[in-house]
């Protein structure tokens, strides 16, 4: 059974965070070869992993990481605004109601069938989080192949600028509108798949 941790409303346990940072190292550094800092040889943690970031983390019933995403406030330093502003034709969007989706991470131990389910759960959790917390728009930087997949989720996306070459790939920037219609759009694309929130007693047990 999958559980969802939303760090904006509940404290994630150390075990869940460790498991997520290790999964991020495995995906973004070992697999995708992104040039990112490694902490203690096993965790991918950067300057944006601070108290302002929010995390949505899907775990199994033993609190092992299955999938996660990091949300950054655009009114503070973030990836599009501070590292890739040239991906935007105009100024990068910055507002309390606009957050950036970063480090969308599916655990490498997942089988391919499970990956699709966890991906759908994570996209759903991201949309639900916005609707619950008053976020009206997400932004994000993505390689073009991943960007095509983001479009396929069915939500309302617009390009923020023209893509730019980045090594052997190309990066593009998107904005995604989140409105009360978003769940129906995700549903129509076969993505919508809500997950139960981690129960308070389970959380206490995990922290003990």
């Amino acid at each position: 059974m999958e559980l969802l941790v939303d760090t904006s409303t509940e404290a994630g346990s150390d075990a869940v965070f460790r498991s997520m940072f290790a999964a991020r190292k495995s995906v973004f550094i070992d697999l995708l070869k992104w040039d990112l800092p490694v902490l203690a040889g096993q965790y991918e943690v950067d300057e944006f992993d601070n108290e302002h970031a929010r995390y949505l983390i899907l775990t199994d019933s033993e609190h092992n990481h299955l999938a996660s995403a990091r949300l950054l406030p655009t009114i503070r330093p973030h990836i599009l605004g501070d590292i890739f502003p040239s991906l935007c034709a105009a100024a990068p969007p910055r507002s309390p109601a606009v957050w950036e989706i970063t480090r969308f991470c599916l655990d490498r131990r997942l089988r391919s069938g499970e990956r699709r389910v966890l991906r759908n759960r994570l996209v759903t959790a991201i949309a639900e989080h916005a609707l619950r917390s008053g976020i009206r728009k997400y932004t994000g930087v993505a390689e073009m192949a991943w960007l095509q997949q983001i479009l396929s989720f069915g939500w309302d996306c617009r390009p923020l600028g023209l893509p730019l070459p980045n090594g052997r790939t190309m990066l593009g920037a998107l904005e995604i509108d989140i409105t009360p219609e978003t769940p129906a759009l995700l549903e129509a694309a076969g993505i919508w798949c809500p997950t139960m929130h981690q129960k308070p007693q389970a959380r206490r047990a995990a922290r003990a």
């Binding site: 699709r116 073009m144 396929s152």
Partner: protein
């Protein structure tokens, strides 16, 4: 940033198109504003064999489509094959750098030129678990492809492909048609894809030889295929097993 204005204009149109005809019109108008004569948005399949859920819209000369289908080029077209190797869009002039062209490929490209289709730019458009696809833009023979519009085409191609997916419902069918294998069947398919015999699989998994034969037989039945090679290909295509599953260790 003129290219971006054109791309954004297309994205606005694409959001509201209600049918394939409107989408064709939106892409045509956008291409016309860039002085690009041709476009083709397509899944890479043999269209004489499977038509219904696969996407193909284009404004190439009709004679070219006939010749293309007569030669079953949906799957073997060199531009389509190259797009499977590319991470991003590419100009057709760079094709030889992406892959080795066979004499037949050269013939296909020559025939396209004679049909009036000149230099082009192709954007790969792949959604995991679905048929591979691409969106191509081309100018008339004799002109070179405008370099300053390539990035705009990258954006237009991505959004056009998604709009086509939405309108043709190809995304709905692709999710529902995936057969469900049991964990044991999947394990057997995985080891078969790694090249093991039924007997070897039985030793690896610690089950009887007869059980392995039954698991693979049932898996083939669920996919409606006759042979284990086809079973492995279908399971890969659906994402039931992955290339890294097969190639690791």
């Amino acid at each position: 940033m003129a290219g971006f204005d054109i791309a954004s204009g297309f994205v606005r149109l694409a959001r509201h198109v209600q049918n394939v005809g409107d989408l064709v019109e939106a892409i045509s108008a956008t291409c016309a504003s860039m002085h690009i004569e041709y476009f083709a948005l397509s899944h890479h399949v043999d269209f004489r064999r499977e038509g219904s859920s696969a996407i193909r819209i284009h404004n190439y000369p009709p004679a070219w489509e006939r010749w293309f289908d007569d030669h079953a080029l949906g799957r073997s077209d060199p531009i389509h094959r190259a797009s499977h190797l590319a991470n991003t869009g590419f100009v057709w002039a760079n094709l030889p750098a992406l892959m080795r062209l066979t004499p037949e490929d050269q013939l296909v490209l020559e025939r396209a030129r004679r049909a009036g289709i000149g230099e082009g730019y192709t954007v790969p458009a792949n959604v995991p678990g679905e048929m591979l696809g691409s969106c191509s833009f081309a100018v008339e023979s004799g002109r070179s492809f405008p370099e300053e519009l390539q990035l705009a085409c990258e954006v237009i191609g991505a959004f056009a492909f998604e709009a086509a997916r939405r309108l043709t419902q190809s995304r709905a069918t692709s999710f529902n048609q995936v057969p469900i294998l049991t964990d044991r069947q999947r394990d057997c398919v995985l080891w078969a894809a790694r090249g093991k015999t039924d007997w070897e699989i039985s030793v690896i998994l610690g089950i009887s030889h007869e059980t392995v034969i039954q698991h693979l037989k049932h898996a083939r039945e669920r996919y409606g295929v006759q042979r284990r090679a086809m079973l492995a290909v279908r399971a890969l295509f659906d994402g039931v097993i992955s290339f890294s599953d097969i190639l690791k260790r």
